[in-house]
């Protein structure tokens, strides 16, 4: 059969499939037509590739069905004239039925050796299952487009302030400027999440709200399911100055989420116009968002995907200094992100020039990040590493299956020789072996899908908190297609070498002579396969080893505080009722006293942000001697705390004193710094009594310096991984917000006093529910969670790899031992001891592993660099791991060879000599 058409490169495999499935008399023209259509469709790259394959599958499927119905007799009368296609059809039919015959034969072959088939299927399933599972994650998180209209056009603005991390916020005036000046087809914005509470029928419930510009939902291509979106007027800023009357006229409105609608209003269709009681304010509901709508923004945006209430966000054209608005732009049709980026940067520069007072020395730069890419930026390295790992596992599984198939050919030598003698060509033999491996791979993929479905549950249970779109992860048609494609590749990979070897004329020749040279040929091939397996496994094991080391160093991090026994909770106050700093201080200290008096509570205090909550407040500082000069670029994390905070967290006070009530009764400019800052600024002096200059928008006046009254241990307050910015603690009174995080240390169960604390807060009349109650050690666990997630998966994959290669080494040595039985008999007869025989066979396994190691080490050196961002406290070429893991693998190889080697030593020389 000629296949001249396949010479044209870009089609190759798909062309071959078409060539095989299209009717003989039409295929040439159809292929030509497809070529022409492909040219008109245009281009290269993945889109064109996809197009080709869609056409290929569509054509082959339709024509197979069409011709099947032509052939079946009860439809024959509708297709009377087969005309020109009749004769070639015959030949085609014969060929197709040839494949069927081979499949039938393969089924019988595999049924005859159920044990062997089961092992191969299981081996391949262990390779296919994890691939399916991880691909499901890749598909759900990375590949599937975001659920918005033409999501590839959406981009998130980020701001770079002279080298600090890219912050996802713009000032309100900047949003207006970008909307006006850029060619982006629209620019919309959303605030960070706001915790508030609603009261329905006397029940108070904490919810998350966010402000959006009226154009944001249309920009995303989403509209309320019931009711309407905000109008432009509703999103316009109030006229400042005499805002008194102006404000009265506007009724506050809001759009609620589907979840809130269902849960609080039972899906009431008459929802529009009802009021939502927010305590200090009530809103009129004008719309309900559709089920499942989420605004998915990337890390650092502090916007939960589960917002229950949307309210209009007015943009103030004079508001240019507080970077807090998350801004989304849509590229104009046909514009690339790069063009838009260049434009945004230019507009940014103009802004800086026009408003120098706002941007002085800020080094600000504006960036557009693709919305989807931005969302997944933190998880992409982990997911890709795992994808690489499952790919390796699949390779190992295929190698193993190839090795097993090769071994099975041994018992088939006679049969194959007979077939050849009866005139079966090389192609025929290859086809037969391939159909066996295809059948095995198909069965394995079914098993693999079950494994994946089961594995996915475990995987999602382990999911790190930072995995976006986790609810979008599911086994769907795309995944199943991927798995089938994977099985096909696996069948090819596992079958091609055995098929080639089995049909090799050399083997056939030697068979005719009735000798066994073929055995050693296949032995060599199998040895090479084992070497490859060892190398692949080593790469995986080293990867897992590095992650284990990271996990250990992460869990050993000195947090600087003792998380055990501590619970944290946010305690907001009704801002309308507690509208003076004094009243808030008063209420918080009262609450602190009452909580402190509860049974079991050892210590309690408050802080402005949850420790390890991945949030920070940062300020620049200066110190004596540098006070006259500019800010010298020093920055520190700062927090406002109630007296007793350090005690409640178990942070050691190293010098000076804690804050006291008197620091809070009026504005007293004092501070406590951590030991890092103290050592940095006054390495040889006592920091107590020294002064710091701070720039922060609090009760503190701009240049008023603060006096240092104490020094504490450095503690991790943003997350477990991130190390040292120096820290400055200030008395609550300097930043008297109506929202404070309480830290409560108690004996025994940290959550035990929570109910009593809620009661106390209610008795005090804080007017808002306590929320975000979490044990401190769960923050630590969550911080370890991301690493644990990757680690556990990588560990499982490495274990599978180790098991597979152990089985591989074992079966090859068994095979070699069997092959050498005759030789062993002679050696034993000539006086070799059992020990010598065992050692000889052991050496085989050892050598195979030894050859595989350097290849694997090289591979690991090349690949572990990709793990870099996942590692902690260990380099990607950690010598300990790179030395230790190969030793482990060698030991395993020896063990795997020992069992068959020992068996060889015990063989009866007479039996062995008789073996031919």
């Amino acid at each position: 059969m000629t296949m001249h058409a396949s010479k044209r490169a870009p089609w190759s495999l798909s062309r071959w499939i078409l060539w095989r499935t299209l009717p003989v008399d039409e295929r040439e023209e159809i292929l030509n037509d497809l070529d022409e259509a492909a040219v008109r469709f245009g281009g290269r790259g993945p889109r064109a590739w996809l197009w080709r394959w869609r056409q290929t599958l569509s054509f082959s499927a339709r024509f197979i069905v069409e011709r099947a119905s032509e052939r079946s007799p009860h439809l024959a009368n509708t297709h009377t004239s087969r005309g020109a296609s009749f004769a070639p059809q015959k030949r085609k039919e014969r060929l197709m039925s040839g494949w069927w015959k081979d499949f039938g034969f393969a089924v019988r072959q595999l049924l005859r050796k159920p044990g062997f088939s089961a092992v191969v299927v299981l081996t391949l399933a262990l390779g296919i299952g994890p691939n399916t599972a991880i691909f499901t994650v890749v598909n759900g998180v990375l590949l599937e487009p975001l659920p918005y209209e033409r999501p590839e056009e959406l981009a998130l603005f980020r701001v770079d302030l002279s080298g600090l991390e890219r912050h996802p916020g713009l000032a309100q005036a900047e949003v207006i400027d970008f909307r006006a000046a850029s060619t982006l087809s629209d620019v919309g914005a959303v605030s960070r999440e706001i915790s508030t509470s609603i009261t329905t029928e006397g029940n108070m419930q904490a919810i998350l709200a966010a402000q959006v510009t009226p154009n944001l939902f249309p920009l995303l291509g989403v509209e309320p399911m019931i009711g309407r979106n905000f109008t432009a007027e509703e999103g316009a800023p109030r006229i400042s100055g005499e805002d008194g009357e102006q404000e009265e006229e506007r009724v506050p409105i809001g759009i609620i989420s589907y979840a809130l609608w269902q849960q609080r209003y039972g899906g009431d269709r008459e929802i529009l116009g009802k009021t939502l009681d927010l305590g200090s304010q009530s809103l009129q509901i004008v719309g309900v968002m559709p089920d499942g709508f989420q605004l998915l923004l990337g890390p650092g945006t502090s916007l939960s995907p589960d917002i229950d209430l949307w309210i209009p966000l007015p943009l103030d054209p004079d508001h240019r200094s507080f970077w807090a608005i998350r801004t989304i732009g849509r590229l104009a049709p046909g514009r690339s992100l790069r063009e838009a980026q260049a434009e945004v940067e230019l507009i940014g520069q103009q802004m800086v020039e026009e408003h120098p007072e706002n941007y002085e020395n800020s080094g600000i730069r504006f960036y557009l990040h693709p919305l989807h890419g931005d969302l997944v930026q933190n998880v992409r390295p982990a997911i890709f590493s795992l994808l690489g790992a499952v790919g390796l596992v699949l390779l190992i599984a295929c190698t193993n299956a190839a090795s097993l198939l090769l071994a099975s050919m041994r018992s088939r030598e006679k049969e194959l020789a007979v077939r050849t003698a009866l005139g079966a060509g090389r192609g025929r033999i290859i086809r037969q072996v391939m159909s066996e491996s295809l059948l095995l791979a198909l069965m394995a993929s079914i098993l693999g899908i079950f494994l994946a479905a089961f594995g996915l549950e475990t995987l999602l249970a382990l999911q790190p908190a930072g995995l976006p779109r986790a609810d979008n992860i599911r086994l769907d048609a795309t995944v199943l297609l991927f798995t089938l494609a994977g099985a096909f590749v696996a069948a090819l990979a596992a079958g091609i070498i055995p098929a080639w070897k089995a049909s090799s004329p050399e083997v056939q020749e030697s068979l005719k002579e009735g000798r066994r040279h073929g055995g050693s040929v296949r032995g060599r091939t199998r040895s090479a396969l084992v070497v490859a397996e060892v190398a692949f496994s080593l790469v995986l094991l080293i990867g897992a080893g590095l992650l284990i080391r990271s996990f250990i160093s992460l869990s050993r991090v000195d947090l600087g505080f003792d998380p055990e026994g501590v619970v944290t909770m946010r305690v907001p106050l009704d801002y309308e009722r507690f509208n003076t700093p004094e009243s808030r201080w008063d209420t918080y200290t009262k609450l602190q006293d009452r909580i402190g008096a509860l049974p079991g509570v050892v210590a309690t205090a408050g802080i402005s942000l949850v420790p390890l909550g991945n949030q920070g407040m940062m300020a620049s500082y200066s110190y004596e001697g540098s006070l006259d000069t500019d800010w010298n670029g020093l920055s520190a994390d700062y927090r406002f705390v109630l007296p007793g905070y350090f005690e409640s967290m178990g942070i050691r006070l190293m010098a000076g004193r804690d804050f006291e009530a008197r620091d809070n009764q009026k504005i007293v400019p004092v501070a406590i710094v951590d030991v890092t800052l103290a050592n940095e600024v006054w390495p040889d002096e006592d920091p107590i009594g020294k002064w710091l200059g701070l720039g922060l928008g609090s009760a503190l006046e701009e240049d008023q310096p603060v006096e240092i009254v104490g020094v504490v241990e450095h503690s991790r307050i943003i997350n477990v991984r991130e190390v040292v910015r120096p820290q400055i603690y200030l008395p609550y009174r300097l930043g008297p917000a109506a929202d404070l995080v309480f830290t409560v240390r108690s004996e025994g169960d940290p959550l035990a006093p929570v109910a009593a604390i809620r009661e106390e807060a209610e008795l005090l009349g804080t007017g808002r529910p306590i929320h975000s109650v979490r044990a401190m050690d769960s923050y630590v666990a969550a911080a370890l969670g991301d690493t644990r997630f990757t680690l556990v998966l990588m560990g499982i994959l490495a274990a599978i790899a180790l098991i597979l290669s152990t089985v591989g080494i074992y079966s090859v040595i068994t095979y070699l031992v069997r092959d050498r039985l005759h030789e062993t008999g002679i050696r034993l007869a000539l006086g070799a001891s059992q020990g010598e025989i065992v050692r000889m066979n052991l050496r085989e396994g050892f050598v195979l592993a030894l050859v595989g190691l350097p290849i694997g080490l090289l591979g690991a050196l090349l690949l572990t660099g990709f793990l870099d961002s996942l590692l902690y406290g260990v380099g990607s070429t950690d010598p300990l791991t790179f030395a230790g893991i190969p030793i482990l693998l060698l030991a395993v190889a020896l063990l795997a060879s020992y069992v068959p080697a020992r068996r060889a030593g015990r063989v009866d020389p007479l039996v062995a000599l008789r073996d031919e």
């Binding site: 039409e26 023209e29 030509n32 339709r62 069409e66």
Partner: protein, 110 residues
């Protein structure tokens, strides 16, 4: 032998061939249908329909000589046979008689 009704795609293909008037081979047929109906059609469905029409004797095909340019190739051009035209006419009058008197329904909607 009772005659099988024309399938929707078959009908579209027949009409497209007539419209293309002598220039009808696979690629332009698909394009014509997509352009006129303003929707995507599965390319393979068109080719299957062409095959069926040919087997039913409603269209005939002829190979044209390769174009005299580099890479020029032979194309199979299709022509509608009288039987095909007859079937199209039948189909049209059947549809029209089914529509008879239903015009107000359409007017109301638009």
């Amino acid at each position: 032998m009772s005659r099988e009704a024309l399938g929707e795609v078959e009908e579209l293909v027949l009409l497209a061939i007539l419209r293309l008037d002598g220039e009808a081979y696979g690629v332009p047929i698909v394009e014509e249908i997509e352009k006129r109906t303003d929707r995507q059609i599965a390319r393979a469905a068109v080719y299957v329909a062409l095959r069926r029409l040919r087997q039913k004797g409603l269209v005939s095909a002829s190979m044209a000589a390769p174009e005299p340019v580099p890479g020029g190739r032979a194309k199979r051009y299709f022509r509608v046979e009288p039987a095909g035209i007859e079937r199209l006419a039948e189909s049209r009058s059947a549809l029209l008689s089914m529509w008879d008197g239903l015009q107000p329904l359409l007017d109301k909607r638009s």
